[in-house]
């Protein structure tokens, strides 16, 4: 039998209420494999509020505190303060929130938590829209993507704005550690989680979580799409420690963005010009990332 390439213990059980092929459940599974069980987690309104099952059931083997939509990061600061006051020294305080809950409504609390250097790991699972309420655009929705609030019509061409650069915002706070991780690369995912666990101070993980119903693709393609997202530079994999950047997956030549788009119904309407616009945005961001890495 081949050696397992990621830790075997499972801290997320079966029976959760995620859609078939949901990327975020793999994200949770790999996160907990990396962190182990000495964790207390807080989550706001998001897909996982439902995925984690209604009362009286729970699907995680670690404690989970529900909190209001905008407050994940503040809830983390409270948990950390209490853990320190109650002598729970080794517990890792974790926030697990969606892209809308982090980059839109929860951004202020996130900035506060990073600035006051709360010792915890904020994990944003990014399915690129408000999926729990049925696929409405968020700041993290990619340029051009269809959602129910960016419909396609004579006067509608999907999301008009580029995807909010959340890692850029986080980097501005000089986090102790921040990294992008992708469920299609579990080994890299778990390695970065373990690295984050070993560092004290405010840490941030940006998880790409492919979403079959939301991105309009057949559920079995979740992992393929995850790979394509990174290999087309739509979702580069990199780390930040303080102010130094390090890209953790570099291909000789990135695949064209169109390869990533064509599998997904949310991009089906895009004209060649619109695809070219998205390609230009992706190339510009990649160039900037290389430059940031070069600063060292």
């Amino acid at each position: 039998m081949a050696r397992l390439t990621i830790p075997e213990p499972e801290l997320m059980r079966s029976g959760h209420a995620a859609c078939p092929g949901c990327g975020s459940t793999l994200g949770m599974r790999y996160l907990l494999k990396g962190l182990g069980s000495d964790v207390v987690m807080t989550i706001p309104a998001c897909c996982w509020t439902v995925i984690g099952l209604p009362f009286p059931y729970t699907v995680l083997n670690v404690p989970m505190l529900d909190t209001a939509f905008e407050t994940t990061a503040a809830s983390m600061s409270g948990l950390r303060a209490a853990a320190d006051a109650l002598g729970m020294k080794d517990v890792t305080v974790v926030g697990w929130a969606g892209d809308g809950g982090t980059a839109d409504i929860g951004l202020q609390a996130l900035s506060g938590m990073l600035e006051r250097r709360t010792d915890g790991i904020y994990v944003m699972y990014d399915n690129e829209a408000y999926m729990n309420t049925g696929i409405q655009r968020s700041g993290a929705t990619p340029f051009g993507a269809w959602t129910t609030t960016t419909p396609i019509g004579v006067a509608g061409r999907g999301k008009a704005e580029p995807k909010k650069d959340i890692m850029g915002i986080v980097a501005a706070h000089q986090p102790a550690y921040a990294a992008t991780v992708n469920v299609a690369f579990p080994e890299d995912f778990v390695k970065k989680v373990q690295k984050a666990k070993g560092i004290h101070g405010p840490r941030f993980l940006h998880v790409l979580a492919p979403c079959p119903p939301g991105w309009r693709f057949p559920p079995e393609k979740s992992i393929d799409l995850g790979r394509l997202a990174t290999d087309t530079n739509m979702f580069p994999l990199f780390e930040i420690e303080g102010t130094t950047y390090k890209i953790t997956r570099k291909l000789g030549k990135a695949k064209p963005v169109s390869e990533y788009l064509k599998v997904q119904g949310r991009f089906a309407h895009m004209t060649p010009e619109e695809v070219a616009e998205l390609q230009a945005q992706v190339d510009a961001r990649w160039k900037r990332l290389l430059a940031l890495e070069a600063i060292g």
Binding site: S37, F55, P56, V62, A68, A82, A85, G112, R116
Partner: protein, 394 residues
């Protein structure tokens, strides 16, 4: 007993220190700010071993307070006016999550017009959030009531958050002699909070899950039942506090010279002190008037109000807030409480002191005279100006 001359806000801070509070989410807002500043000094000087969480908004202050309390820590925070309103979503959350947070509220009017001066619009507007609400008249009452509030909030039969409100400037920034309990007395009265065990690292358990129509009502009923037990637990706590410090502040609605009164005025907060002196002055002139101090607004002391209605047939209510489209909140609650009572005193609602407008002895005397002669409208905005004399702010 060390008598010190301190402000109402300092009294809040002393009480938090004496209560050995473990987590203080702190965010400034006039006139509450000197509470969290004083606590910051206590922490910096080592007098207080609290985790001081410097949040970026009142909304985050309450969120951090709830999560800290859910993990088991004793939590104190403070706010006012706009900040309390920003917390509204989480005030509901705190009571639903049964987290026994105690919050000092420096009462302040609600904008617009923007005002940093006192009235009760902020705390009254939060009366439906499942928080115990107590109003203090003096620094002494503040320090004593915050300690009692922790004892009641953390009682296993209660587990509800509590607000201890004090009028902006008239109390928050008014220094006067206060008999601050010793740490030994506070420890005897208020043992450390045993961790709730709701969340234990490494142990599966989710706190706050969503629930369908099948069980949501049952959890809401539990909060209602807990609130209904507060009067009994509050009385026990005040009795034990009196045993230890020789002081108690008379329960939910203490009466003053009401036994043979022809008219009684119900007051909240610092207006009570002034009204008490007017009662004495009018009594000296043979006018039989009395005072009822409404200390506990939630849960509303219905028994005490019905008791009062059985001994006096003219009751005036000084509301330092107003519910648009209805009447002052205390008036509304008292009228509703008396609907089922055999006694039907005449009720008058006096709206006064909004936006920091001073409630002077003359204002109170007018209210009593209006009650005694029975003339005047059912709801009267006392001292409402016709000619506006805007004070220059030069």
């Amino acid at each position: 007993m060390p008598q010190v001359v301190i402000s109402g806000n300092s009294a809040q801070a002393y009480a938090a220190k004496l209560a050995r509070v473990q987590v203080v989410p702190a965010y400034p807002i006039t006139p509450q700010t000197t509470i969290i500043e004083k606590i910051a000094d206590f922490v910096a000087s080592g007098e207080m071993k609290a985790q001081y969480v410097k949040v970026e908004s009142e909304h985050s202050a309450m969120a951090a307070g709830i999560s800290a309390a859910a993990l088991g820590a004793r939590v104190y925070t403070a706010s006012s006016s706009q900040g309390l309103l920003l917390m509204h979503e989480l005030l509901h959350w705190a009571s639903g999550a049964r987290t026994p947070i105690v919050m000092g509220v420096a009462n302040r009017a609600v904008a617009p017009p923007l005002s940093i001066w006192t009235d009760h619009t902020d705390t009254i507007s939060q009366r439906d959030t499942g928080w115990i609400q107590l109003y203090a008249e003096s620094g002494q009452e503040v320090v004593d009531t915050v300690l009692v509030a922790f004892r009641v909030a953390e009682h296993p039969e209660i587990l509800l958050p509590a607000m201890v409100a004090e009028d902006g400037f008239y109390l928050t920034h008014t220094v006067e002699p206060v008999d601050v309990p010793t740490q030994e007395q506070a420890d005897r009265f208020l043992p450390p909070r045993k961790t709730s065990g709701l969340l234990t690292p490494g142990v599966a358990g989710r706190y706050g899950s969503y629930i369908g129509p099948d069980l949501h009502m049952e959890f809401r009923a539990k909060v209602a039942e807990a609130m209904a037990r507060v009067p009994r637990i509050f009385a026990m706590a005040e009795e034990e506090y009196r045993r230890i410090t020789k002081r108690d502040h008379g329960g939910p609605m203490p009466l003053y010279r009401c036994d043979d009164a022809d008219a009684v005025l119900v007051t909240m907060g610092t207006a009570t002190t002034t009204a008490r002196s007017v009662v004495d002055a009018m009594r000296d002139k043979g006018e039989k008037v009395g005072l009822a101090k409404l200390r506990m607004f939630r849960p509303f002391p219905a028994d005490q109000v019905r008791e009062l209605a059985s001994i006096v047939d003219r009751i005036g209510i000084l509301d330092r807030s107003f519910t648009f489209g209805a009447t002052g909140a205390a008036h509304t609650e008292i009228a509703a409480t008396l609907y089922g009572s055999p006694h039907r005193p005449m009720l008058r609602d006096f709206i006064a002191g909004l936006g920091g407008r001073d409630i002077t002895p003359q204002t109170v005397t007018h209210m009593f005279e209006s009650l005694l002669n029975g003339r005047g409208p059912e709801i009267e905005w006392v001292g409402l100006k016709r000619r506006t004399e805007v004070i220059g702010y030069g």
